[in-house]
């Protein structure tokens, strides 16, 4: 039950895009049509699902001082956490890229240059940093959180791509075309997502 509520919460309430603004760069760049958005969304879920538990273990057994630390309880390496997290993410993204290139060449060609961009996607590093902040109790929780926030990101990018496909037929003021209207659209989608928080505005 705890896992289910964490899962639902990380998709809707703690949505990476709408609540925390994470991964906005590639979110805006790759949301022009649903097909590529779909591919990038799945890639983000996959990378999050691998990196977050790995970083969880590193954080628990290497970086945080305490009885679990393999260097002894007094060694505090938490100042290295940013660099370790980003190194793990960069390495794993590289591996995922190679696997996708080998086994799913069509997906690889449609994602083009955006796959390497996942390494600097804030949603991935953000996931690991939130994991560290939320101090999850076990590996399962961190994996569920990764799956949920990845799914939330996927949902957000596919929804935006669908809206943008329709928007290309709309008559928009010249200055607002492209980026401007996209931002406002994302803002309005965000307002809709606020409803999940049960907030009275």
């Amino acid at each position: 039950m705890e896992y289910l509520s964490l899962f639902v919460k990380s998709i809707f309430v703690d949505n990476m895009i709408f609540a925390y603004f994470l991964g906005m760069c590639s979110y805006l760049a790759v949301s022009k049509n649903v097909k590529t958005a779909n591919g990038l969304g799945i890639a983000v879920i996959a990378v999050l699902l691998i990196t977050l538990p790995v970083n969880y273990l590193l954080n628990k057994f290497l970086l945080t001082p305490g009885e679990n630390c393999i260097f002894g309880p007094d060694v505090d390496l938490s100042f290295l956490s940013f660099i370790i997290f980003i190194a793990v993410i960069a390495a794993i993204t590289q591996v995922v890229e190679m696997v996708v290139e080998k086994f799913l060449p069509s997906l690889y060609s449609s994602l083009g240059i955006y796959l390497p961009l996942i390494a600097v996607n804030c949603a991935i590093l953000g996931g690991s940093l939130f994991m560290q902040q939320k101090e999850f109790a076990n590996l399962g929780e961190s994996a569920v959180y990764a799956l949920g926030s990845g799914a939330g990101w996927y949902l957000a990018i596919v929804a935006l791509a669908a809206i943008r496909e329709k928007l290309s037929y709309a008559n928009i003021p010249a200055g607002l075309k492209g980026t401007g209207i996209t931002f406002i659209t994302v803002g309005l989608m965000g307002v809709a997502f606020m409803a999940f928080m049960g907030l009275a505005i």
Binding site: I83, I86, G175
Partner: protein, 207 residues
């Protein structure tokens, strides 16, 4: 000298990283609820972009091409950790660092930093690289501060924590716009800034 001026002014207006290039928005909007946080975030980003551009430019002839990206990433991460450690260590900035929480760490993945190193620092001398980094950080910071200005003024009626909207107005029935402090409004304000910017500078309009 003219070139130097160009290096500094271009990223702030015509080539602004946020409104024109749409880079680095990831971590920018979450910290714009209040001016104080936006201000510290802007300074941190300026420090990180400036210093990492400088260091990468100094190293540019020695970096092996194959591990270029990872070396850059290490340099950027180093700068971000230094900024974070210093913010945590001083009494004046400790509270703000807590408020910014993960967003300081997310400067690492801010596309502006890596983007400027790739596009400028690796091909230029250290001093212009430093200026380019600082100017891009400043262009980014400027947008943060503009967004934060509107969000704090309309959302809380304060600026830097000081009350701006007089009590008399509240007594007359004025209420703060609660929507302003929620995440979606940051994007809508940014959309409007881009609109205004592109209406003035027609070259930037997308077809």
């Amino acid at each position: 000298m003219g070139k130097m001026k160009e290096t500094i002014l271009n990223p702030i207006f015509k080539g602004n990283p946020i409104t024109v290039l749409v880079l680095g928005i990831c971590s920018s909007l979450a910290v714009t609820v209040e001016l104080k946080g936006a201000f510290v975030m802007a300074l941190s980003v300026i420090a990180v972009t400036g210093l990492s551009s400088l260091v990468c430019s100094l190293l540019r002839k020695t970096i092996p091409n194959r591990v270029r990206i990872i070396v850059q990433l290490v340099v950027v991460a180093l700068m971000v950790i230094l900024v974070d450690q210093f913010l945590k260590a001083f009494e004046a900035t400790y509270a703000i660092d807590k408020q910014l929480s993960v967003y300081i760490g997310l400067i690492i993945t801010n596309c502006i930093v890596m983007g400027r190193i790739e596009a400028f620092a690796l091909g230029n001398k250290p001093l212009p690289s430093l200026f380019d980094g600082v100017a891009n950080g400043a262009g980014y910071g400027m947008i943060l501060i503009i967004v934060a200005f509107f969000r704090e003024l309309l959302g809380s009626g304060t600026l830097f924590g000081f009350r701006i909207i007089p009590q008399a107005l509240y007594d007359a029935g004025y209420v703060n716009n609660g929507l302003m402090i929620l995440p979606p409004m940051a994007r809508i304000i940014l959309g409007c800034i881009i609109w205004a910017h592109r209406s003035i500078d027609k070259d930037l309009q997308e077809k």
